[in-house]
């Protein structure tokens, strides 16, 4: 039963169910990826793919294997088993030319504290000049890049003097200085204030829409995943347990909806699987007497929050299968 659900959600997710995508158009193709540290399995067969220009959020509780997955794709970590193709190559053996087409933003950087912002971006950009193509001129012109990430006022500052949010924006700037075709963002907005978060979201949309950059980001924040991603992959217990757009995932959650209304000054609350039928029946019986009608679908968020809570309480495997059953 669980296997069936797995097949449905991972293999026939939005990507496969929508327009069939030729294998060679896949920017990312991960099949049955497994990772084992000693005797502990961290990834139990992760499978997903991404097409050019797609923004994918890898969502999951802490310790679900998000960072391990992304590090394998970045070529920073070996894998125990599985087929992984990133921009047409195996990240375990790919060379510098491949590296030049990737952008990487990790969770925490504290490097190059003595450098000035503009000098550092200019310097790191020079590594990419050899890999410039007519279609993708590399690197990104440094002053334009600084403006895009909103660091113009800090261009002459030493990196160690930047605030947390500014430092993070610099990390993003470094990640995209080579105009990557594929960008990895690991927990990109941790420590951002709401305004910085919004600017960052705009930047991600711009990269995906204007520059056709494929973006894989990890987050444990469902709200952020919904705002940014075309497609959400939920990773829990070392598996992808759901794969689809935020709307598709919401529909998949087979919870009961909550219906609230008032009639003759009294308040009523009812839970129903088929809210539409219930409301139709309600109006048929009472007509105009019904007021203040509210229908709330049991949200993806609630189901996801339960998954997170359970995982953090150390019941990751059970939580993952409960979540799957909810889909």
């Amino acid at each position: 039963m669980i296997d069936n659900v797995l097949d449905m959600t991972t293999v026939t997710g939005a990507l496969e169910a929508g327009m069939p995508m030729p294998v060679d158009e896949r920017v990312l193709d991960v099949r049955d990826l497994r990772m084992r540290y000693g005797t502990t399995d961290v990834l139990h067969g992760v499978t997903f793919s991404a097409r050019r220009g797609e923004v994918i959020a890898l969502l999951g509780p802490n310790g679900a294997g998000k960072t391990t997955t992304i590090e394998i794709l970045e070529g920073f970590r070996g894998r125990s088993a599985g087929d992984v193709t990133v921009l047409g190559e195996d990240p375990g053996v790919a060379g510098e030319k491949w590296r030049a087409r990737l952008g990487v933003v990790l969770q925490s950087w504290r490097d190059h504290g003595k450098w000035r912002v503009r000098d550092l971006l200019h310097h790191l950009g020079t590594y990419y000049a050899d890999y410039s193509t007519p279609a993708i001129p590399r690197p990104w012109p440094v002053d334009d890049l600084i403006e895009k990430v909103g660091l113009t006022a800090q261009a002459r500052q030493r990196v160690s003097r930047l605030s947390g949010g500014q430092r993070r924006r610099l990390d993003v700037a470094i990640g995209i200085v080579g105009r990557p075709e594929l960008l990895f963002l690991d927990e990109p907005t941790v420590g951002f204030d709401p305004a910085a978060r919004r600017e960052f979201h705009d930047l991600v949309h711009r990269l995906a829409d204007v520059d056709d950059t494929t973006i894989l980001l990890t987050t444990h924040d469902l709200d952020e995943a919904e705002k940014l991603a075309d497609r959400i992959l939920i990773l829990a217990g070392g598996r992808i347990i759901a794969d689809g757009s935020a709307d598709q995932l919401s529909l998949l959650v087979a919870g009961e909806s909550e219906i609230r209304w008032t009639r003759d000054g009294a308040r009523y609350v009812h839970a129903a699987v088929d809210a539409t039928a219930f409301v139709r029946e309600l109006f048929r019986q009472y007509g105009d007497a019904i007021a203040d009608l509210e229908v709330r679908r049991s949200s993806l968020e609630e189901t996801y929050m339960t998954l997170v809570r359970e995982s953090e309480a150390g019941r990751a495997a059970t939580a993952a299968s409960t979540f799957q059953e909810a889909l």
């Binding site: 391990t68 990790l106 969770q107 925490s108 504290r110 190059h112 003595k114 450098w115 790191l124 590594y127």
Partner: protein
């Protein structure tokens, strides 16, 4: 090969930038000046004393040996410390995430440490020539310096790179200092090696510090002082041989160890070390 020229270009740009930074950062400037100050205070307290049986001042005898030690020390310790801190703060991982970044990083480090070694040496050499009686350099001496300084640098820097790769945190740097100080003590820098037991002399002659000190003495001191050296000679041939051996061994081994270390770098490795560092502080 465009990647080799890229590594050279980016490495020189990188090393040059970081070298200029050391000249404008007070803490770095102090690191340049401190050894000079310490050295000249030592020499000041040696004033009046002479090498037994000669009229050469003890200070003049000590200073060239200390030049040699300084080159070994900068090459070894600076590189080791830089590698440990760069690994801890993610600089190395950044290099790994950049195309040809590791080659650029390495060339940059060689340029940076080479520049630092040269400045440190000049800061000791110039005042030494002016203020310490008994130091003389002739044409042959300048020529010796031309090969001795670069060779000494290439012989010691890879050792520092290997040690920096193997140590897994700043806390273990102390482990490295102790044997290094012991090695300096037996290498005839501050105390003539002839006065030490034979087996200690043997140990000292395995390592580059002794040979750098000996080479420096040959540049600045009169040949009469070979009387106080092993074999009563400056032994240039042996110096080139031993330093050359260390250079070749280092250039073979260091890239292997560096590659192994770089392979292990990942975001979670950096994060884990950071966590450990935070625990140390709290």
């Amino acid at each position: 090969m465009s990647s080799i020229s890229t590594a050279a270009r980016t490495g020189f740009a990188r090393g040059g930038y970081e070298f200029r930074q050391t000249l404008t950062t007070p803490a770095d400037l102090w690191q340049y000046i401190f050894p000079t100050v310490a050295l000249f205070v030592t020499v000041f307290f040696m004033r009046g004393a002479t090498v037994p049986g000669t009229d050469i001042s003890l200070g003049a005898r000590t200073l060239p040996s200390a030049f040699g030690m300084g080159i070994a020390f900068t090459g070894l310790m600076t590189v080791a410390i830089m590698l440990v801190t760069d690994r801890e703060d993610g600089t190395l991982l950044r290099a790994k995430a950049t195309p040809n970044g590791m080659s650029g990083y390495l060339v940059g480090k060689i340029v940076l440490v080479g520049g630092m070694t040269a400045i440190s040496f000049l800061l000791q050499l110039v005042p030494g020539l002016f203020f310490v009686d008994g130091l003389h350099v002739d044409a042959v001496g300048w020529f010796t310096l031309l090969w001795l300084v670069p060779l000494g640098f290439i012989a010691t820097m890879p050792i520092g790179a290997v040690l920096g790769s193997l140590l897994d945190g700043p806390r273990n740097m102390g482990l490295m200092m102790l044997p290094l100080i012991g090695l300096i003590a037996i290498s005839g820098i501050f105390y003539p090696i002839m006065a030490l037991p034979g087996w200690v002399q043997g140990v000292a002659q395995v390592f580059p510090i002794y040979w750098l000190g000996l080479g420096m003495r040959s540049v600045f001191l009169p040949d009469a002082l070979t009387a106080a050296e092993l074999g009563h000679s400056w032994r240039h041939l042996e110096t080139v041989g031993m330093l050359g051996l260390w250079a070749v061994a280092g250039l073979v081994v260091a890239p292997m160890i560096l590659r192994r270390m770089a392979r292990r770098e990942s975001g979670s490795a950096v994060a884990a070390r950071r966590e450990k560092a935070m625990q140390r502080i709290s």
